[in-house]
């Protein structure tokens, strides 16, 4: 095979993976709309979505299930993309919003809002977003020393996370147990409170951020070859890196604002996406789709699986993600790429 055919082959594979993942996400999405205490048949779901349902199916599908399924889809996509950007930007498979303190910042701000100021709904969302952005800015400034290296950013993030988590704990001990429990559910990541009001900001943010990331994807490709190569090819590395970092944080922040920091989704999606696409790049689109599939599927399982209490979706993703994280590290270390 000539080099050109190999490239074409790899590209075709990546494209096929994307199509299959998109189909899977759509399938899970429709399943989530159709199954529940009152099952709506698939043709009815489709005709309801097309605006020709009965008043019953309109209520069940459009009012009850659609906001939840859409929030899961979009939040999952945002987490997946955010993780993929961060991991290839910082050259570290551990760089996800969970580990480097961005989720902790959103969480501290949200819990402070819930417990200390009695915020609910949109107020919590705004607080979470602001918390994520402020944490990321602080992390960037503190990790800056003639530039920012991936490991320093990760380690500074771990330190910041510790302070923020203790702020969270402080408010959790100060409150009545019921509102502390609310806060704990929020901190785990849950789609139980999804409604249109929270969905709209997420959708708008994604509408703005996805084109921005698509435009910056080439810069990310170049950075993943190394800073020197990227500079040699005419890229303004610090500015591109800052812009991409900002996009990743905004994605994670808006998704967290809508659904809470659903544990480990951004950490898991990118390696899975990269492994499926196998094109050696950052695999942004596959990771995005994997994130969407994971959240919708995990939420479906958490709601309907027999034998499971109806737990928040973050419990399920956390239970799968935590062991995966350790296995990932063990494999990286054995292969000699752990640092």
């Amino acid at each position: 095979m000539s080099a050109l055919t190999v490239i074409r082959h790899v590209r075709r594979r990546a494209r096929l993976v994307c199509v299959l993942l998109a189909a899977l996400a759509a399938g899970m999405f429709l399943l989530a709309l159709s199954v529940g205490t009152a099952t709506v048949s698939l043709p009815d779901v489709l005709s309801t979505l097309a605006g020709q349902g009965s008043s019953d199916t309109d209520y069940i599908v459009l009012e009850l299930r659609l906001p939840r399924a859409l929030t899961g889809l979009l939040a999952g996509a945002a987490f997946g993309l955010s993780g993929a950007i961060l991991q290839s930007l910082l050259g570290n498979p551990l760089a996800s919003p969970d580990v480097i303190g961005i989720s902790a910042g959103a969480g501290a701000a949200a819990v402070t809002g819930i417990v200390a100021f009695g915020l609910g709904g949109p107020g919590v969302a705004v607080a979470a977003l602001v918390g994520a952005l402020v944490t990321a800015a602080l992390m960037y400034v503190l990790a800056w020393r003639d530039g920012v290296t991936g490991y320093r950013l990760v380690l500074v993030g771990i330190g910041l996370a510790a302070i923020l988590l203790s702020v969270t704990s402080y408010f959790m001990t100060r409150s009545r147990v019921s509102s502390a429990q609310d806060a704990l559910v929020w901190l785990t990541g849950s789609l139980n409170d999804s409604d249109w009001e929270r969905l709209v900001p997420l959708a708008v943010a994604l509408g703005l951020l996805l084109p921005a990331v698509a435009a910056a994807a080439r810069a990310l490709d170049l950075i993943s070859f190394g800073d020197d190569t990227a500079r040699g090819l005419g890229l303004g590395v610090p500015r591109a890196r800052l812009g991409l970092l900002l996009c990743a944080v905004a994605l994670a922040g808006t998704a967290t604002a809508a659904a809470g920091p659903i544990a480990f989704v951004s950490l898991l999606s990118a390696p899975i996406g990269r492994r499926l696409a196998r094109d050696g790049g950052p695999a942004l689109l596959p990771s995005t789709l994997v994130g969407a599939v994971i959240v919708v599927a995990a939420d479906f399982a958490a709601q309907h699986a027999p034998g499971l209490p109806r737990v928040p979706v973050g419990v399920l993703t956390g239970a799968i993600g935590a062991p995966y994280l350790l296995i990932l590290l063990a494999r990286l270390n054995r292969g000699g790429h752990g640092g």
């Binding site: 500074v156 771990i158 330190g159 510790a162 704990s169 429990q181 350790l326 752990g338």
Partner: protein
């Protein structure tokens, strides 16, 4: 060999005299803090009454009882827990050859927490005195896991690998803990107060239960100065000096598990004491662990006791838990250390 012999046998010199001066100063500060800790609290008790409670104890006087049963055990526990965490951090940093090692950052405390939560939910443990065995189990599992994962691969346990596997283990333990807590409201109520790291409401029974373990761990840590000195030189040199590195690591591991497990069982997970104290101790004492360890033994209780007193004062008549104060004071030290490393 010249380098080795100076590290192993520091000369008696002005440096040594200065270290002794530091130790004496620290002792005085610590004694002062103990006095303040007995005097300060939610309940305003006159100095004379506190003195009476210690010298001429009268069990019929409420204030005397309060000093004897609340403030005295709490103060002693702060000393023990502080000493334990400071020494555990010193031992870990020496073994991992990594100034970022700490029982909190590396997930040892989180492992202990997870096991305590499981003790509460699965075995119905309600008393603080019942936590200790679970905390030991968790600390042991976490230590083995973090070191095991971090040491995989050709270069062995490099500083960054240990820090990352610790952070990963920490995240994993925290996530699993949350999962357990969400399904059990009673356990959550019980756990959330313990989980921040607090010394309030610790009575004599808790003190008596953990004191033997902490005492044993402290003795073991203080005795391991020579082992740590050889380990910090690197495995090859240590082996060349006739040191069995596996034995030395095991001794260090047992010490860390004893100290972290008992301290966490008594006070909940208190972070950053083990991180912030050893660098200060090394700054004062130089590289010889036979001197560093006694320094950490005195400095760490100063931090914990001061944080505990501060927590009682700033939110008076309520209090901010000691674990929160140490995190807020200690995390900036961690970040400064990260920035200083290349």
């Amino acid at each position: 060999m010249a380098v080795v012999s100076t590290v192993l046998a520091p000369s008696v010199s002005p440096a040594r005299a200065r270290t002794v001066g530091w130790l004496g100063g620290a002792g005085v500060v610590l004694a002062g803090l103990v006095v303040v800790s007995l005097l300060v609290g939610a309940k305003a008790i006159p100095v004379s009454t506190v003195v009476d409670a210690l010298v001429e104890f009268d069990p019929t006087v409420n204030d005397h009882l309060f000093v004897r049963e609340e403030r005295l055990p709490r103060t002693l526990l702060a000393l023990l827990v502080g000493a334990g965490l400071g020494l555990a951090g010193t031992v870990m940093q020496a073994v991992a050859r990594n100034p970022l090692a700490d029982p909190g950052v590396l997930g040892i405390n989180a492992g202990a927490s997870l096991f305590v939560v499981m003790g509460i939910t699965l075995f119905g443990v309600t008393a603080l005195t019942g936590y200790v065995w679970f905390a030991f189990g968790g600390a042991l599992v976490a230590t083995v896991l973090v070191y095991g994962v971090g040491a995989l691969g050709r270069e062995g346990a490099t500083p960054v690998k240990i820090a990352l596997s610790g952070a990963a283990a920490n995240a994993a333990f925290v996530s699993l803990t949350t999962t357990v807590l969400l399904s059990d409201t009673d356990a959550f109520e019980q756990f959330r107060l313990w989980q921040v790291g607090s010394l309030s409401g610790r009575h004599v029974d808790v003190l008596i239960q953990v004191a033997p373990f902490l005492g044993a761990g402290i003795v073991l840590a203080l005795a391991s100065g020579r082992l740590l000195n050889t380990l910090t030189l690197g495995d090859d040199i240590a082996r060349g000096l006739g040191q069995n590195t596996a034995v030395a690591r095991t001794v260090a591991g047992v010490t860390v598990v004893l100290l972290c497990g008992a301290a966490t069982a008594a006070a909940g997970p208190i972070g950053f004491v083990g991180l912030a104290v050893p660098p200060v101790a090394r700054m004062v004492a130089g590289p010889d662990h036979r001197v560093v360890l006694p320094c950490a033994l005195l400095f760490a209780p100063i931090l914990v006791l001061a944080a505990d007193i501060l927590g009682r004062v700033i939110a008076w008549p309520g209090e901010v838990q000691v674990g929160i104060i140490t995190a807020v004071l200690g995390a900036p030290v961690f970040i400064a250390l990260v920035r200083r490393r290349r």
